[in-house]
């Protein structure tokens, strides 16, 4: 087998080569489309789709605020999830201890309690 040339070493690295191929993949579709698809633009075609209506006002409407509590909960849970995942790195080294199980049990019970209460917190049915 021939040795890789100096400047083209990256072609002998599977991951870099894969990323290059993946970057080229959509361009194949675009190239074919550019060759065979028609290009006849018109004002009506370029309107944003609104079920046949001419677009009314800006597209950026308001966010449904009744689900806002979930966003707050997400911030809390994201921290806990990352904490668990990061501590796994240490646990893989040291092994599971009883105190860790206690902490996990606490988190489980707390999450069950929280989920039983969340119905009222979100207040979207009232």
């Amino acid at each position: 087998m021939a040795a890789p040339p100096e400047q083209l070493w990256f072609l002998w690295d599977p991951f870099i080569l894969y990323v290059i191929l993946v970057l080229l993949a959509p361009d194949v579709f675009y190239l074919v489309s550019w060759l065979i698809a028609p290009r006849r633009s018109s004002r009506v075609k370029k309107m944003a789709f609104e079920s046949g209506q001419a677009p009314i006002r800006s597209a950026l409407s308001s966010f449904p605020v009744e689900y806002f509590p979930y966003v707050i909960i997400y911030v809390a849970y994201a921290v806990i999830a990352i904490l668990i995942f990061v501590s796994l790195v240490a646990i893989v080294e040291t092994g599971v201890t009883p105190s860790l199980l206690l902490l996990l049990a606490l988190a489980t019970v707390a999450s069950f309690y929280a989920s039983s209460q969340l119905k009222e917190v979100a207040g979207r049915r009232g």
Binding site: M1, V22, A25, S33, R39, L104, T108
Partner: protein, 350 residues
Amino acid sequence: MIEQLAQLLASAPEPIRTLLGWIFSDAFIKAAVFPGALFSTILGMFAVWYERKLLARVMLRVGPLHVGKVSGVLQLIADAVKFLSKERITPSSAIRPLFWTMPSAALLLSLLLFAFLPFGAGWIIYPSEIGLLLFFAVIAVSPIPILLAAYASGSKYPFIGLTRMALQLFGYEIPLFLALAGVVLMAGSFDIQKIVEAQARAPFILPQMIGFVVFFTAALAETERVPFDIPTAEGEIVFGWQTEYSGAHFVVFQLAMYEKILALCVLGSLLYLGGWYGPPLPFVPDTISAPFWVIVKSLVLFTLMVLVRGAYPRLSIDRVLDLGWRYLIPLALLNLLITGVIVYLSGVLA
């Protein structure tokens, strides 16, 4: 014959020899053929055909039939040609650079997932000690091109799809994360190859049934499959965040979505169903039977996803959020606790 070929090759000039060496090198075969670009694209196209066919059976139809001699196998090629021959329309209200680049970005992130998935011992593009973390990192950023695409469309239906998608994806990332944590705890490694090797005796689905259910449900929601397809609900908001995309852009987005689904199916088969461990096939070497079992198990998971799509109606948005936050997260933590107890007890007994 082979000797003659070898002689011919030895007498060929230097650039051609290097090129041939490159084509038969480990890097090219892994990146371009298996499990890289060619394989993942073909798997994606097969999945679309398979889903249409199976879904039709569930609904007592026949599905694609006429294009191609057997069961409409060429229907997809016909569809692709049709899509590619359609005009790519950019709405005048769109943010052009974002609108044009986001389909490629989505496809890049979806296909990148396959780089971290081993299809057998050594059949992996990017072997890493933290393969599962890398996979999760890519999954976690993969909604961003979609959100940007919806925002860049500058149209109302994509914007409604965007808000729905943001609520849904943020809710289901954490259960997915916690379900994977159980697997890592049990295998004692972030390396997907080591996780599979830890399942040599029994697949992880047995001790972690709850974790598997959480993973599967979260994977359905992450990839917007029915019954979690509220961001692209065709009956309500046209096609959600994809409404303004046409022609080649649409094809690229669809392919990106299917690759993400398949990557999650392959991950599920590796983490819970025992990966490449299966009954030995007669006269087939290990290097071929390993990818075979991974693909078969992934397709079993994909079949399950299609059957779920055939059987259940779309959930409303408050049900989706309830399921994610109020049921899956506590269940994922419970699974983690059970896993911790099992690992602790097996350590004490041993």
